[in-house]
């Protein structure tokens, strides 16, 4: 389980997240929903161990990670995958992008060997890379340059890249906000497939319908904190918080 306990975060003087507690279990999809600018991205970055919160604890399997050494934290960090709003692919082939996470987990010796082999052109695509690309339906693009992909394809490659090294948790920051319906469907299918494999998925989205379609639990972020956190069905159909009720019914809260 990856969890935030009473987390507060401020950039310089501006507090973005206040006293927030949240947990993602393996094998579930937790949607973090809320209007733009409420700090959803910050929450995901804190969950991805990318950003140290100003106050509060971040734990993975009850281990408070910011009190660990950098090496120990790296090992925990490597159990997490993240996809950004834009695909953020490296300027290389699809295969090189997707295998990146696997590559950095190898010893320098093996990396050097693979590097030399790829110059000679004798190393094939690893099984994990093919499998990850298969999940997003892009095995035929494996040798294409990443910059030649369409926006939807690039985002699907980005998803495969975060999945190839078999993380325990996957964090997605508005992964479909720039995509057409077909690519959105494909990403959502891949998210559910990842969940069924036992991966805990956290997804930030401003699209309530998307949260309704794929989330097991929903955290509604309004203002600086969480207004409501519970099973998706209950949050959408019978919210206890008044502001949440207004937000899910489409009324403006601000």
């Amino acid at each position: 389980m990856v969890e935030l306990a009473n987390v507060t975060h401020a950039y310089e003087d501006e507090t973005v997240v206040t006293d927030l507690s949240l947990a993602i279990d393996p094998g579930e999809v937790v949607a973090i929903i809320g209007p733009s600018g409420v700090g959803k991205t910050t929450i995901l970055r804190i969950l991805a161990l990318f950003l140290e919160p100003s106050e509060g604890e971040v734990r993975i399997d009850s281990e408070p990670i910011w009190s660990l050494s950098e090496d120990e934290r790296l090992q925990l960090r490597r159990r997490i995958g993240m996809v950004f709003q834009d695909a953020s692919l490296f300027d290389a082939t699809v295969a090189r992008n997707v295998e990146y996470g696997l590559r950095v987990r190898q010893s320098w010796r093996n990396r050097l060997r693979d590097e030399l082999q790829s110059i000679v052109g004798s190393n094939g695509t690893s099984e994990a890379v093919t499998e990850a690309l298969d999940l997003v339906g892009l095995t035929d693009k494996v040798n294409q340059e990443a910059r030649s992909l369409s926006g939807g394809e690039a985002q699907r490659v980005s998803f495969a890249r975060a999945l190839a090294y078999d993380p325990s948790y996957l964090l997605l920051d508005e992964p479909t906000s720039d995509l057409d319906p077909r690519n959105t469907d494909l990403i959502e299918e891949a998210i559910l497939e990842a969940r069924d494999r036992g991966i805990g998925v956290g997804i930030a989205t401003h699209d309530m319908h998307q949260a309704e379609r794929i989330a097991d639990r929903v955290a509604v972020v309004l203002g600086n904190g969480i207004a409501e956190f519970g099973p998706a069905e209950r949050v959408f159909e019978d919210p206890t918080d008044e502001r949440t009720a207004k937000f899910v019914s489409g009324e403006l809260v601000y």
Partner: protein, 238 residues
């Protein structure tokens, strides 16, 4: 025909093997000194540019303005300072480097470092921040992230190195001061470069040799610039 004046000069060189050895040794010294200096500059500049591109620290603007000032720093003054450093009374006097290629490498290092650092820094800060962050969240260590950034900025960095080389190879003032423009008794260059040889030959009225050396230098610089333009195009397409 554009190349005719140069072609007319060639027989003069070929007929005089002594002169040919002379020209060849000058080209060799020029390339040796500039390539070595630029290699050291690159090894120094890249980590500096990476640190400056990645982190916020006090005095960063000050360091930036020093680098920018360095780009326009008069080369003869650099030569003078290096001369003081390697002279008998200077801090490096014991190493006896005055009028050596090593001293020339030092002064060209000082000249090439600012442009290489500044252009690399611009290329590194131009790398999409999300791509940098992606390398981190996918499990990369700091070194992995730095390698990704260098790879993403490779066209800009290559341009920076070539710009540094262009400044080094075409520079005359400082190598003249610290190198001394020396040849051996058999007429083989010791510290004579293309630029210092041209000014000497021209002063002595050896215009054909000076012209030939000038043509070689222009060809070198043009080649480097052509590569820079080409890389700029490739980088811009991305």
């Amino acid at each position: 025909m554009l190349l005719e004046p140069i072609a007319q000069l060639l027989p003069a060189v070929i007929e005089h093997p002594f002169r040919e050895g002379y020209v060849r040794s000058i080209i060799y010294v020029s390339l040796y000194v500039s390539v070595t200096a630029v290699a050291f500059s690159t090894l120094f500049s890249l980590p500096v540019a990476l640190v400056m591109g990645f982190s916020e620290f006090r005095g960063k603007q000050f360091v930036k303005s020093i680098i920018n000032t360095g780009m326009g720093f008069p080369s003869v003054v650099v030569g003078l300072l290096v001369l003081f450093a390697v002279s008998k009374q200077g801090p490096l006097g014991a190493a006896d480097l005055i009028f050596t290629r090593e001293a020339m490498i030092m002064s060209q290092f000082v000249l090439a470092t600012p442009p290489i650092t500044a252009i690399s820094l611009a290329a590194i800060t131009g790398v999409n921040e999300n791509v940098r962050d992606a390398a981190h969240v996918l499990g990369g260590t700091r070194l992995d992230v730095a390698l990704v950034v260098i790879k993403e900025a490779r066209y800009g960095i290559a341009t920076a190195i070539l710009a540094g080389f262009g400044r080094a190879i075409s520079e005359v003032g400082s190598v003249l001061i610290v190198g001394g423009n020396i040849t051996s008794s058999s007429g083989i260059s010791k510290t004579r470069t293309l630029t210092t040889a041209i000014q000497l030959e021209a002063r002595q009225g050896q215009y054909d040799t000076a012209m030939l050396l000038g043509a070689v230098l222009v060809a070198l610089v043009l080649t480097v610039n052509a590569i820079v333009v080409r890389l700029g195009d490739e980088g811009a397409m991305r």
